[in-house]
Symmetry: C2
Subunit: 619 residues, 2 copies
């Protein structure tokens, strides 16, 4: 964490000084905003937290509810989400209060006595070390609290405006604020807000989606589940372990919750008949508890308190486009309205994906909006949002359909008795959130030089490794220094004797073609848009930091203080060069503001580097 | 972190529900309090955070300043303090914002050119792995903020009362609130507060100390230092590393500070003449900066901003007693007034000890006050405070005197050219805060069975090891589960086949002689005073948790929910039995509420266990 360089900070350094629109920002909803976010779920809140980092952008978030979410909804947090929390500064805290999944148990009917269940497998949750972050369970309400805090503590000081319901919108294509949005307050009074951009993060029944004429398409088969957050005593020995339980009487997905006592059970209520007309949703709590007891026989639950419960049916649907530009006009018109999260994709809760994918939608969009609104990038950057995220949504639906139908199937219906746990282990990268691989585009380079950095796959998220900071010998997870500040990262991994590294550094810091100089706005700090880091092959105590090119030690803030914390060296024993298979001749790895690898280039491919950034930036 | 067992907690689980005196607690200072703390430095604030955990105890903290400390004072946080922060729930957060010391560099005059300094050594900060916690640098103001938060979020909802100055006190030995304390507000208006106990944590010039007639005794030699927190650019290559710099022109202790830019320099201003009469304190900032530049030649500092600076002289003094009972009356009269922190011991800042030792004073006293005030323990427990802490203070002074005179010495005056770094490495346990070893007393048992647990030295702090939680397979640092909640810990380490472990568990949970039952107050949870944990030798996935005796799975809270999180197993590869040299026949380790090992006993020494606790508790 860097601070004090604009003068001494006495209080919590996580609370950034208010700047720009954040200074004395009024609490009321303004008439005109750059970005209007509808909905304070995970997608909307992450986007709000992201937008709050930009002091020149006015963002407002409206939410129908009269206050924060109190209870219920999603609770499974995949490692990629924890990685994202880290970028927003609250991973440590949420880990501390969450339940951590380290393994999953599988229960099946006992072959000797099929009325009873027995444990048939215990599988580690992340056997291949896909991430240094844990897989957590914690209530959605807390996740939203942390994003709300990040939004409130960002320089733009953003707080949700509760009690406003989105009704409809019109894209006028006129004036600076072309989207006219109609809201109503708690008393039904209408209000029109004008916005440059609107994000519909208003959930599965999205009215923003409807208002842009997007279609929510997908299967018609519905399956019903009872879900309950329970305080109970039980003799079921795995009550504090995540379990998939399949029995003669149906199945349960069992999830221990944060705090050591609470747990959640998703109890299978079966396929819903086409003419059910919502009858299943009237299933009483007692029936769900009785069903759960039946499924876990010979064990039983003594329920003391039910914190929250619900019955819901799920289909699998994806929206045909994630913005207001009809497919046939793609590329011609530029989008002004976007949808994210459940508004784009709905599916079961079984794979614990809903909240997670929704957040990544927001993370993908936020920095793009900021680049355009800060006047750095052309509007066409915004078209990459639909292009990138729609595929992900489709993958999600496909995965979820397979997993949830396997979960609901009886043992004997599955291909093999171990089909469920095999599928779980085989596909682990997906539910952990790391399968996303954006294809080549305006913001993902070609893979000509991928071999120079085999471990940093283009289009996938930058997977962190610990390196040593030269100035103080501190071991640091390189990727964790990548905060959600809207900046691009350029990692310059050195060659053996650092000759090419230093040449690259000189070019980057002095040549007018260098993206760092070419796309710098007048008067801004040299590292305002690009955070450039050098990683030497030499052990850290042999690197002479005084010799490192100036671009690796940028001057900052009002005092022009030198930042010495961007110069690193590979660890002697666990070298990032070995772990990520980096060329010993050095390599440049470019990472997008949302942590995805954008380019891999040799140290001397300065022309290619310059050319990559040219279309991304207008300044 | 355990929560939800008293019903669903939707908001931050670190904020404990208000209880007892904390419910609708008024902000004003009451006329009568159980405990009055004077001074909101590290000693006072820790004690406040501790007392706030007890809903039946009314504690108030008065502070002369009109608000929180803003800047300055101590910044070196030893590992033991971070361990203590962990017990108060904020270690992760403060680590995140602090500077972490991983090594220390030593600079000396260059033998070839004695006008210049050269680096002569680079030593790792904790070469022997004395603690899993880091050694940090962070401003005292932030440490106090975190304690203030812990106090405000404790069930008793304690907030400092700023703007009250302590004048004097009188111990009347009359009534329920025998100590009459005279305070003045900002306008000089007097007010008398009656207290059961008073803690003077009012710093080096303590008036509480004076009012109980204690003597601050010690050496008369004074040494002056200029200290400055600086934002500067420099070519000194170790500016981000802790350094001891000795030059022809004097010496500097150089400390990088949190946030990546700021650093602190302690610049030696030499011995103070007996007739100086404070003249040295008038040394201007420019002189200190010039002196610093001279010392670091051939490097130089380009100072951009000075956040804080001060000139101070230090002597070495210890107070003859830490409570109001004159030495000749010790044991006859019970203490009602205590002093802690700088009020008891003053010394140089060179070894970074002041804040740290002060906090441990408070940690030692807090739970004892709570035990007595909750009616659990006899007042004689309070006499152990002076007995235990005075020795520590003397050790501190001795250590500090040696270290600071070595620091101030010229190279050629030292025994050998490497004397300074050798002393630093040799004595590392001391400045890390782990040398404390309380002797046998009312609350530290005899060492007859020490051999059964060689790695848990009686009277030293319980050094944590990772074990596996049986109910969910989560690896957990056993010691980190020991929160500052005033409870004793009983760790029952199992024998090979767990026979004796289960016998011990049965006895502990059912025999009327068991301390858990004998000292339980009517109606309170079975784990209100004792947190009992079992650690099996068997791998965690082979332990049948359903067979563990009930005392290891206590029922909790209004619903009588079973707590499954107290049953552990040694890790197969890194077994706590091997690492701490525990007997394979099992062993019981008792740990005090302030994390010091109180007793080591065989699993079958139930009589000895019962006998140990009898004099500690009156209930
Ligand atoms: C009752 C329930 C239970 C669920 N359980 C699980 C689960 O167990 N596991 C799991 O993985 N997923 C679960 N989900 C799904 C998961 O919560 C979603 O995938 C995730 O919340 C999607 O995030 P989002 O931001 O897209 O939308 P949401 O979290 O749905 O947020 C949408 C927000 O928009 C607001 N809103 C809606 N319409 C308007 C409007 N017109 N004007 C203003 N505001 C509006 C809503 O009040 C809401 O706050 C559940 C969802 C629900 C509703
Ligand atoms: C200017 C200064 C610089 C220091 N620099 C360093 C350093 O660099 N490194 C280091 O290790 N240590 C340093 N110290 C020492 C370190 O800060 C102390 O060891 C530590 O703060 C002791 O904690 P404490 O709680 O005992 O007392 P303090 O932190 O001194 O707190 C005492 C509190 O009591 C209040 N108080 C005093 N008298 C009264 C009264 N009559 N009524 C009400 N309130 C009262 C004071 O305002 C103060 O808040 C410094 C101390 C000072 C004063």
């Amino acid at each position: 964490m860097q601070f004090h360089h604009h003068g001494y900070v006495s209080t919590d350094p996580r609370i950034k000084p208010a700047a720009g629109v954040g200074i004395d920002r009024p609490a009321e909803l303004p008439d005109e905003v750059d970005v209007l976010i509808v909905g304070s779920g995970p997608a909307g809140m992450l986007t709000a937290a992201q937008m709050a980092q930009f002091p020149s952008i006015t963002t407002a978030l409206v939410e129908r509810r009269d206050g924060r979410l109190v209870i219920g909804q999603a609770d499974g947090i995949q490692a990629r989400s924890v990685e994202t929390f880290q970028a927003f500064g609250f991973a440590e805290r949420i880990i501390q209060e969450a339940y951590r999944i380290t393994e999953m148990c599988f229960w099946k009917p006992d072959p000797e006595n099929p009325d009873h269940i027995v444990r048939t497998a215990r599988t580690p949750d992340d056997p291949t070390g896909i991430s240094e972050f844990p897989h957590l369970i914690v209530n959605q309400a807390r996740v939203l609290d942390y994003y709300a805090e990040a939004a409130a503590h960002g320089p733009a000081r953003l707080k949700p405006n509760y009690g406003w319901e989105f009704q409809t919108l019109e894209v006028t294509n006129e004036g600076d604020y072309p989207v006219k949005v109609t809201l109503t307050d708690e008393d039904g009074n209408e209000r029109i807000i004008s916005a440059k951009y609107v994000l519909g993060a208003d959930g599965a029944r999205s009215r923003v989606r409807d208002s842009i004429g997007a279609q929510h398409v997908g299967g018609v088969s519905y399956h019903a589940w009872g879900v309950m957050d329970v305080l109970a005593n039980t003799d079921f020995p795995d009550v504090r372990t995540k379990c998939a339980i399949q029995s003669k009487h149906g199945s349960i997905l069992h999830i221990p919750r944060e705090g050591g006592y609470l747990f959640r059970m998703y109890v299978d209520l079966g396929e819903v008949a086409a003419d059910d007309a919502g009858a299943v949703r009237k299933t009483p709590l007692d029936t769900i508890i009785a069903k759960a007891n039946e499924i876990i026989t010979p064990y039983s639950l003594d329920v003391k308190d039910v914190a929250w419960w619900s019955v819901y049916e799920v289909g699998h649907r994806v929206t045909d486009r994630f913005d207001d530009v009809p497919v046939e006009q793609a590329g011609e018109r530029m989008p002004h309205v976007f949808i994210a999260g459940d508004a784009c994709h709905t599916h079961s809760a079984k794979a614990g994906q809903g909240m997670n994918v929704s957040m990544q939608d927001g993370f993908n969009l936020g920095w793009k909006l900021a680049h355009v609104l800060e006047g750095r990038s052309p509007e066409s950057l915004l078209s990459t949002y639909t292009a990138e995220r729609q595929v992900i949504a489709q993958n999600l639906i496909d995965f979820d359909r397979e997993w949830s139908s396997m979960m609901a199937a009886k043992s004997e219906e599955l291909e093999s008795p171990t089909a469920l746990e095999e599928f779980y282990v085989k596909t682990i990268e997906f539910p952990a959130g790391f399968m996303t691989e954006y294809p080549e585009s305006l913001i993902v380079g070609n893979n000509k030089h991928q071999d120079l950095a085999k471990g940093f796959t283009l289009g996938k998220r930058f997977k962190s490794v610990i390196v040593n900071r030269v100035c103080d010998g501190n071991p640091k997870h390189l990727g964790h220094l990548h905060q959600a500040d809207g900046r691009w990262r350029i990692y310059a991994f050195g060659d053996k004797d650092s000759t090419k590294l230093h040449e690259f550094g000189e070019w980057l810091g002095t040549n007018p073609e260098s993206p760092v100089l070419a796309h710098r706005k007048d008067g801004e700090d040299i590292n305002a848009l690009f955070d450039v880091k050098a990683i030497y092959q030499t052990p850290y105590d042999e690197v002479d930091i005084t010799k490192a090119p100036a671009i690796f030690k940028p001057e900052n803030g009002p005092f022009g203080l030198v930042n010495l914390e961007n110069v690193f060296a590979a660890d002697v024993e666990e070298s990032i060069f070995d772990i990520r298979e980096l060329s010993k001749d050095g390599v440049v790895v470019v990472v997008r503001p949302d942590q995805y690898v954008a380019h891999v280039l040799p140290l001397d491919a300065t022309d290619e580097l310059a050319a990559f950034f040219k279309p991304i930036f207008t300044v």
